[in-house]
Subunit: 333 residues, 2 copies
């Protein structure tokens, strides 16, 4: 069965290996099989970046370059910019009537994000209501599958609640429910082993990292702090170098041998890091090369995005039309 998938990223910084493992890699695999919409979520980025409009704007093109560099294919996936699809904002506006303030305040994902941003006192209304905006994005394309991390599952529940409320309120099957697609690998830890990889934590390796940056990042990488001598037994669990080998080394058998060797002692961190560095250089070299190629002609990238926006707008406009008609908001022939 062919699914419709909505996925995307907020353009607030360059994409990194965490994005690659958690989503980009899966999208490449999904793009041949399903109808995939990939959204550069600039409007959502504004909900907590009104103070840095230039950053959001600049990163729209950067994220598009990252997409093309890893092999997302505009011929197979519809890549578009959220703010260019007015229909998404209008759907969100109507959905606001289908969800209570108390329900939004209870959303565990929002609660955690409000806490981590220190928004307790000055929470922008647009941030509290962004699950409604997400519901608009998801339903606009009649998405049936939405790749999310486990921490984002409440967003899917919220969306389906809105779907059911709209259908019940209007007595029509206007919108379709969606299911979460939880990625196999999940969150990649940062190179410091402290939480997930993120640009703001300073523990990321960007997809556009230079060979020297990759080298330096692997050298700094957190291993087993108790593994002081090569002959000592080392721990593989929580050892970022092995986590990355699991995530990126195509030679599974060799990785398992290395783990066994490391556990029983006699394998030094330097040797394992050399292997990982090779793996990452091999992975990122062609991505970097393709990125440089696309970056030479930003006009062509913008053309690609404009076409994606046209396709996305057409689909979203049909959904909006259906929602408006169901709400009784069409008066003219």
């Amino acid at each position: 069965m062919q699914h419709t998938i909505l996925t995307g990223d907020r353009p607030t910084g360059p994409l990194h290996l965490g994005h690659y493992v958690g989503s980009l890699r899966n999208r490449i695999e999904l793009q041949g099989k399903h109808r995939q919409f990939i959204m550069i979520a600039d409007a959502q980025a504004l909900t907590d970046n009104m103070g840095d409009l230039a950053k959001v704007r600049r990163n729209v093109l950067e994220v598009a370059l990252d997409y093309l560099a890893v092999g997302l294919d505009p011929a197979k996936s519809t890549i578009f910019i959220q703010s260019q699809i007015s229909e998404l904002a209008e759907l969100a506006f109507y959905y606001l009537n289908l969800v209570t303030v108390a329900r939004l305040e209870r959303n565990p994902t929002v609660k955690e994000e409000v806490r981590s941003r220190g928004f307790e006192r000055d929470l922008p209304a647009g941030f509290l209501t962004y699950p409604v905006s997400q519901a608009a994005d998801i339903t606009a394309f009649r998405s049936t599958l939405v790749p999310v991390g486990t921490d984002q599952q409440p967003m899917i529940e919220q969306t389906n609640e809105i779907v059911r409320r709209l259908n019940t309120t209007t007595g029509q099957d206007v919108l379709v429910e969606c299911a979460a697609l939880i990625p196999e690998f999940g969150r990649l830890p940062g190179i410091d082993g402290q939480g997930k990889m993120s640009k703001s934590a300073g523990n990321a390796i960007a997809l556009s990292a230079s060979p020297d940056e990759i080298k330096a990042a692997v050298r700094e990488m957190f291993t087993d702090p108790k593994h002081l001598y090569i002959d000592d037994p080392g721990q593989v669990e929580g050892n970022v170098v092995f986590t990355y080998l699991d995530a990126f080394d195509p030679d599974r058998a060799t990785v398992e041998e290395l783990k066994a060797h490391y556990r029983r002692g006699g394998l030094g961190d330097m040797a394992v890091k050399r292997r990982l560095e090779g793996v990452l250089q091999d992975l990122l070299a062609p991505i970097r090369a393709r990125r440089a190629q696309y970056a030479k002609d930003p006009g062509e990238v913008l053309n690609m995005l404009a076409k994606g926006c046209d396709t996305a707008r057409e689909v979203a406009a049909q959904t909006l039309h259906d929602v408006r008609r169901a709400l009784g908001l069409t008066y003219f022939a």
Copy 2:
């Protein structure tokens, strides 16, 4: 100086004498002198009427008929339907990032309306955020004057806060501030003297009332409950019949004579009511006749609304364009 004015009504029931005194009458006077946009606020009506979509839809045409019947002239005022101007929803969507949840919860008008609707526990997000939507409506037309009752003044403050925040955030003078235009007469009491006239309170005289309905309403009207005998002195203050004479009788001198006579005794309620009934029949007869005339051709009324929507959309689209550009959300030539 020519102002731009935004005003309008929620299509949740027929308009009545309270609307006439508090706003419609003023609009007729303003329509020659200023640029006036009159909005049938169907989207705003949905914020607390999702359970009765048909009512909102039906009343859009009814309100338009009331407008034409009282003499609002589509050649002088732009009459349009809120939901047909997508740009308003999109502006509201961006403005949500410029106001905090705490600020919306503190809004005295919203607080009072939440209380009166019993929404404390199940407040729809769209209702909490409707001041943001109003700010979008007001600013979309670059309105400088907004006719509101004193109880709605916090909405004007909220709008101007959003205007200033957008201008500060973007470092550009994108939006213009507005001022409240408080009507001279204010709220008309209901015929029972219990609070303001409203359809839901069952104390209203609709603009489309029949001669018999007018007669019956005046007969029921609250006067001075202590004025038992014609010869007794009567009270004019709080006496609804006199309040209505003040509001509707064009012969000010005679009304003052009647008040003096009633106060010193010797003037019966029946006599004053007969005069008021004559005044109201004279006022409403031509309105009813014009309404019946327009109601014969709903297609023509819809045509008028469609033209108004086109004009409104053009103005709102320019504002949205300016806001999006200031936010950095334009990528394509």
